[in-house]
Symmetry: C2
Subunit: 552 residues, 2 copies
């Protein structure tokens, strides 16, 4: 029997000292609970992804030093009473000129590594074999791949080490583990959340355990890093695929399991919508907290998008750290300010009202604007107002755009698009409604006041930038639009495919064209939490200058 612990921690990119403290605390706790092997996830010591920091010599040197320091400190303190405990830590390492596996690389080659720490020393090193270079991943830019297995002995058990993508690809550690007759495949991960990925992940771990013919431990980080949120979901399966232990999502945890023993902690899964909501709270909370902001500021229109963002913020920070401004104009409906104040009353956030009329009149006197220019002006006065209050009071402004409108460019650059973070930028409008309804139902189930005004959920969506304007005047029904965008943005389906699938040809061509043309706006949009298979940002990289247009 081998007692293992998976340290599901929340590191911060670049915070070598802080991450080392997290690791030491987790290892100390695990050892005191009898763990013989502690797995600390992929690049937990540096945070992930570190992007071009991987290429900076001063950071490389500091990361190596931090690893040596960590080993020594563990040996001297947390593991002083537990000298037999083995720790495997994900870290950045550097191959020097004389141990580079590939020709034509720079003299110092960074590697995505796992360091084995025993008795205060780094005693072995594994280098990630499969480097992901698709979607949000650019590991071919940063790292050279390793080609050698690392098999270590822990209390008489044969343990094969792997890192993240090694588990998803054929060959490498999974094959080596089977060929070398291992007892455990220990996988360190920094695997970002995507909707439904946890189901895929468990199934994959079970399949790979069978293929490797040994138990498998999957240790993942948790927490937000810019556009990514890591859900944790660390788990252990036996060699026959039985789930032995599973950590919760979006929370730090130390998961203990006994190989050859009975199943232990198996945290329940959340429902799909609840899981997305948790991902959004976690991504928002960590962006704000890790960047040192004390509070957030939201323009509250009375509509569903800003209401959902406010509910997420209140769940992330508590109402004392959330500030809202209602900024009515001549085209605002009678209920919009009332709905915003209802939201504030329900959640406890601070709200104030600033009429944009004086600024609007000043601009209209100075400039000759009408139509779209006049609509955008209102949005930009609101943006400037939010930024002014942000500068004066220190809040981080949150942009409230959803994925559907960001897709088709139904947003005003430097207007409603202002903000340091955009919590729901990867959430299609139909899912915005689902999340709002779920959150209110959840409150009701728990005997609390539903945070989101029912009127914000039920009224027809409108930007309220001209009289009686409705989204439905310019866009298809959101149910249709979101299915179409999912097929185009995530599925890379052609216009012809979409027409064959039953969408109206003129609508397909118009929506695809709008989506292509809005690329320039998306480049200047704030970052926000990725929850879908393909988010805007580093996940989907298209030129702005681009004359390719799909036709049906």
């Amino acid at each position: 029997m081998l007692r293992i612990a998976l340290a599901q921690i929340n590191p911060v990119v670049g915070d070598l000292a802080g991450n080392a403290r997290l690791i030491r605390a987790a290892v100390g706790e695990a050892a005191s609970q009898g763990a013989q092997l502690v797995l600390v996830p992929e690049m937990a010591l540096t945070g992930y992804p570190i992007e071009d920091l991987a290429l900076r010599p001063s950071f490389q040197d500091a990361a190596r030093q931090a690893l040596d320091d960590l080993a020594r400190e563990l040996g001297a303190h947390e593991l002083a009473a537990f000298p037999e405990v083995t720790v495997i830590v994900g870290c950045l390492d550097v191959l020097d000129a004389d141990d580079q596996p590939m020709a034509g690389r720079p003299r110092r080659a960074p590697v995505n590594a796992a360091a084995v720490i025993t008795r205060g020393l780094v005693t072995a090193r594994y280098i990630k074999h499969h480097l992901p270079n698709y979607g949000v991943f650019d590991e071919a830019r940063y790292f050279v791949p390793g080609n050698e297995p690392l098999l270590i002995n822990v209390a008489g058990h044969r343990v094969m080490v792997a890192i993240c993508e090694d588990l998803w690809q054929e060959g490498g550690p999974v094959t080596w583990a089977r060929e070398l007759g291992c007892d455990l495949l220990a996988v360190l991960n920094a695997s970002p959340y995507e909707r439904d990925k946890d189901d895929v992940r468990l199934a994959l771990c079970q399949t790979r355990a069978l293929e490797a013919n040994c138990a498998l431990a999957y240790a993942n980080i948790v927490g937000g890093q810019d556009e990514l949120v890591f859900d944790g979901d660390s788990l252990v399966v036996s060699s026959d695929g039985t789930l032995l232990a599973r950590a919760p999502q979006f929370e730090s945890a130390i998961l203990l399991a006994e190989l050859g023993g009975l199943p232990s902690t198996i945290a329940p899964r959340r429902d799909d919508v609840a899981e997305v909501y948790s991902a959004l709270v976690c991504g928002l909370r960590d962006y704000v907290d890790k960047n040192g902001f004390a509070s957030v500021l939201i323009g509250l229109s009375g509509g569903i998008d800003s209401a959902l963002v406010a509910a997420l913020a209140v769940d992330a920070f508590g109402p004392q750290r959330v500030f809202g401004i209602a900024m009515p104009s001549r085209y605002s409906s009678a209920h919009s300010v009332a709905d915003a104040f209802d939201l504030a009353a329900r959640t406890g956030l601070s709200i104030r009202e600033v009429s944009i009329a004086p600024m609007f009149n000043a601009y209209m006197d100075a400039l000759d604007l009408s139509g779209l220019a006049e609509e955008n002006l209102q949005a930009r006065i609101r943006g400037t107002t939010l930024m002014g209050v942000s500068n004066a009071e220190g809040h981080l402004v949150l942009a409230t755009g959803n994925k559907s409108e960001i897709s088709v460019g139904y947003s005003t650059i430097y207007g409603d698009a202002v903000g340091g973070y955009a919590p729901i930028k990867d959430v299609p409008k139909t899912l915005v409604w689902e999340l709002a309804r779920w959150r209110n139902d959840e409150a009701t189930r728990q005997g609390q006041t539903p945070p989101i005004p029912p009127n914000s959920i039920d009224k027809p969506p409108s930007a309220e930038l001209r009289p009686d304007q409705l989204d439905a005047d310019s866009l298809p029904d959101y149910e249709v639009l979101d299915r179409l965008l999912e097929a185009y943005v995530t599925g890379d389906r052609s216009a012809r495919d979409l027409v064959v699938a039953g969408f109206d040809q003129a609508m397909v061509e118009r929506i695809l064209r709008l989506t292509d043309l809005a690329e320039y706006k998306r480049r200047q949009y704030p970052p926000g939490t990725k929850i879908t298979l393909r988010a805007f940002g580093r996940d989907r990289r298209l030129p702005i200058t681009n004359r390719w247009h799909e036709s049906g």
Copy 2:
């Protein structure tokens, strides 16, 4: 003797039909001038870089079809009277499942290819061997590499084909050309401009010709594509490294050369500053024209940055397409509006004046702003004014920030940072002055009015957002700042290195910290022409959430 032509054309990303027309015209012209071999640069048929379009099946299919159509049309028209002419065209191709060279790749694998066209048919194909995946390049994301030489016979001459990075790396086509005793190494390129790169390029071509022991033809595209500008600079060297022909930079051209003949056209090089100026004009012109804008709009402060941007715009588009707005505030110096109007008089651009005072007063009455919030407010009123006029009249707004201030975050997000394009975002402040002086001197040399008011060049730089404000109050002297930023941003030097190199420690730590903290602003900054070895944007990718800080 072999007569070759290099088609230095300016393709547009995604414009398969338009690019095919450019190629047909160039091939027709080359053939009529007696060329036996015509080289059309890397991915000229699709434009470069196409980014994730490479992964979209509908675009892959269209690109393959466009190649077949191009071959057929050339055979039927431009080359009907020249059946012996061989054309080599850079294109996107796709390997089907049964001819994939690598395991674990998706079923359809895009390749960066060179197609050989003879007698109306694609008769051979080369696949790029070395895929660049550093700096601005992400080719490992898009393409699978080829591993086989393509040696073709053109009028009795043995021609080895290569694509761009193949020339910069050891092994592959250079080696194959020597081993197989070739007469010509034909290299198709999409090689972006960087300051001083043309010198490196010629030296490299000469070195490689000697290594390959054959003549070398280097065909490059020209023109702007989002952040990149391609300078052309196509050239031919003999096997002993003698320069036989060289095309101009930043202009479309058909370069003819005779292998075994005497040197022909050798376009003179521009001086360094003149070359940068041309790069900026070319990048700006193509962004605006390829995106279909009729005119540009610039906020004219009377300062050097906006004056240089205006001069570039007038050189790119003529004064009829350039519009400026002077937007004085209570803190504007007496000369700022006068300098802006002087600029307009010198260049012929259209100028108007809009006082921001009424809007400023309206905001100040509605909000309680002071200090930095009040400074930013002025910049944001100007941004909103520019965007309002842009929306009303259809101009593309140009942002006027330079690299020095974008580095340290000395700019107001949604204020002076608004715009669709930022022509000088990669130009350090000291180079801004050099460019302005060079442009004025050039006008004087040509007997024209210098476009930039001498007062804009000579006065001390100031944002004029509070009384008597000067850049020098908050920043080191720009000569010092630019040397420091060059070492940090481009050179990745550590704080300690910089202190050892003689920079003041407190200044180093402060400037590096400001640069790191401004990452969030740069993410939302408009694209602009890359001219240095490392531009902000895809060239330098750093996390926003990042606790790594250099200390000296």
